[in-house]
């Protein structure tokens, strides 16, 4: 049998049903593993062992009575520390909110509890999902299980590191400029940013209202679909929530890619922002694999990464300023330096400039929609480089913005990043798939076909 810590959510669920493993046994095993490994990884800000064991006991009892809620019943989940989990602090990894105890669960947490999932605790993030990696915060930054000297990506750093290291099979993250897909890319796992409006953001500390998305980080594509099934759904109290009935996100996973048209956005990594050669080689290999599986891959063109990036920055900093202005005025020293530096530009952007960015945004959305009328899914880079060393600040500053994720926060299309190989330095390289609005199922279908055809999801970091 697979070591319990490497079981996917789907496999754990099957083991519970077959009575070869119980939720309590799994949680105890993961708590022991966390005790051994997390001092090296800093994935957790706050482990809730007691709450997790209580929930696991309840799940175990219900499953034994045949009252199985679904495939996440008894499955441990890690939660980025910007989501409210009732009675636990939501610190956003910041001194500013160090004593901020959540009164109620975020909607996505409520939905996971309804599905029977076990909340393990709160995970490391960049400060307010923006400023990091930083060493001047109340908690240390998370580290990459493939090499703890390296950055695990961010801002959902603990979610990526913990899933990758086998501290829990699935986690929740948020994504405003790529913060679910970045740790998925750096840690060699799966990160899915759903279509904007598919998952409620209520109870998640906002960074940028029109760019924020909630999404899962998992070790398999099937688990990403399971998580999405649990957390998606219209929330009338989230103004950005879409009144969609989209469901059963895993329904196409076994269909393969034969007959699908895939648009390869080469200019992102070839000319807009030339990628590390091993990333480029990895992307070419993804294209070859998908063609071998029966897809038609053709080159397509979108607006440049510079265009998307400029718009993402103006919108993000303006909206974030509107949230943080009172604290930045009164207690600027309570922020870490990086977060402060990234929030302050919003103070100097005019209303006209913000609206101008939103007007250009609509044109970029139209340009991506035009391309997605001719192809079913886009294939492109996620990160342009393997992750940097945490202690190499200049290299982190250079590589962190070298990414092609922010375009799909600007447009709101569903986008998934996953492992596409290992660099010569033993660090993951990645690929990104992007789909039409509310067609997350087809994005997952392509990702699943790639996953089946390659060995990457079976690789684990050399961490024990």
């Amino acid at each position: 049998m697979t070591d319990p810590h490497w079981l996917s959510a789907s496999e754990a669920s099957r083991a519970f049903a077959a009575k070869t493993l119980s939720p309590v046994e799994l949680v105890r095993h993961l708590l022991k593993r966390t005790e051994a490994l997390d001092p090296k990884l800093n994935a957790y800000i706050r482990l809730d062992a007691e709450g997790a064991l209580d929930a696991a006991h309840s799940a175990e009892k219900e499953i034994a009575q045949g009252r199985i809620r679904g495939p996440l019943h008894g499955v441990p989940v890690g939660v980025k520390d910007i989501f409210d989990v009732a009675t636990l602090p939501t610190t956003c990894h910041s001194k500013v909110l160090i004593d901020n105890i959540a009164k109620t669960d975020a909607v996505s947490i409520q939905k996971l509890r309804q599905a029977g999932a076990v909340i393990m605790g709160k995970l490391s993030t960049h400060e307010f999902a923006l400023g990091g990696p930083s060493f001047d915060l109340p908690f240390p930054p998370a580290r990459n299980p493939w090499n703890p000297d390296h950055h695990p990506g961010g801002s959902s750093s603990g979610s990526g590191a913990g899933v990758c290291a086998g501290l829990f099979p699935v986690a929740l993250g948020s994504d405003t400029g790529g913060s679910v897909r970045n740790p998925a890319s750096a840690c060699g796992i799966v990160g899915h940013k759903p279509t904007y409006g598919l998952v409620s953001r209520r109870g998640v500390f906002p960074l940028s209202f029109t760019l924020d998305h909630v999404g899962p980080l998992t070790r398999t594509v099937a688990d990403a679909a399971l998580m999405l099934d649990a957390i998606a759904g219209h929330d009338p109290e989230d103004p950005g929530s879409a009144p969609t009935q989209a469901r059963h996100f895993g329904r196409l996973l076994d269909r393969g890619v034969r007959g699908l048209r895939i648009g390869f956005v080469r200019h992102f990594h070839e000319t807009d922002m030339p990628a590390h050669p091993e990333v480029t080689a990895g992307l070419e290999e993804v294209s070859r694999v998908l063609q071998a599986e029966g897809a038609e891959v053709r080159t397509v063109h979108l607006p440049s990464l510079d265009e998307f990036r400029g718009i993402n920055r103006v919108i993000l900093s303006s909206e974030a300023w509107s949230i943080h202005a009172p604290w930045l005025r009164e207690r600027p020293g309570d922020y870490g330096q990086l977060c402060r530096q990234r929030l302050l530009p919003g103070a100097f952007i005019s209303a006209g400039e913000y609206v101008g960015a939103q007007r250009r945004r609509l044109q970029l959305i139209a340009a991506v929609e035009d391309v997605l009328r001719d192809v079913d899914v886009l294939l492109c880079a996620s990160s342009m480089d393997p992750s940097s060393r945490l202690d190499d600040e200049p290299e982190t500053t250079r590589t962190y913005p070298r990414q092609a994720r922010a375009p799909f926060n600007v447009t709101g299309h569903p986008a998934l990043a996953m492992m596409a190989g290992l660099s010569s330095g033993g660090l993951p390289v990645s690929v990104q798939f992007v789909g039409r609005y509310f067609d997350d199922a087809t994005v997952l279908r392509v990702a699943a076909a790639y996953e089946r055809a390659t060995p990457w999801h079976k690789k684990h970091p050399p961490i024990g």
Binding site: T210, P236, D238, P239, G240, S241, P243, D306, E307, R309, G310, I311, R313, V314, S317, A325, L328, R329, E330, P332, G333, Q337, R340, Q341, L344, P345, G346, A347, F348, I349, S350, E353, V355, G356, A357, Q358, R359, R360, R361, L362, Q363, I365
Partner: protein
């Protein structure tokens, strides 16, 4: 950025304390904001609308 202009912008934003405690961060933010906003190709067509559109009754 011109220091007089920077000071005026800081006062308008209420960031005097931040300027006193972290002058380099504030000055750098002002320059960065100018660069970021300047990089956006704002539509020249006056009819080009912003995203998201107003949707009366939705999300209330």
């Amino acid at each position: 950025m011109d220091p007089t202009l920077l000071l005026a912008l800081v006062r308008a934003a209420g960031l005097e304390k931040a300027l006193a405690e972290f002058p380099d961060d504030v000055a750098s933010a002002a320059s960065q904001a100018m660069a970021n906003a300047g990089a956006v190709q704002v539509p020249t067509d006056p009819r080009a609308e912003p995203w998201p559109p107003m949707r009366p009754g939705v999300g209330l």
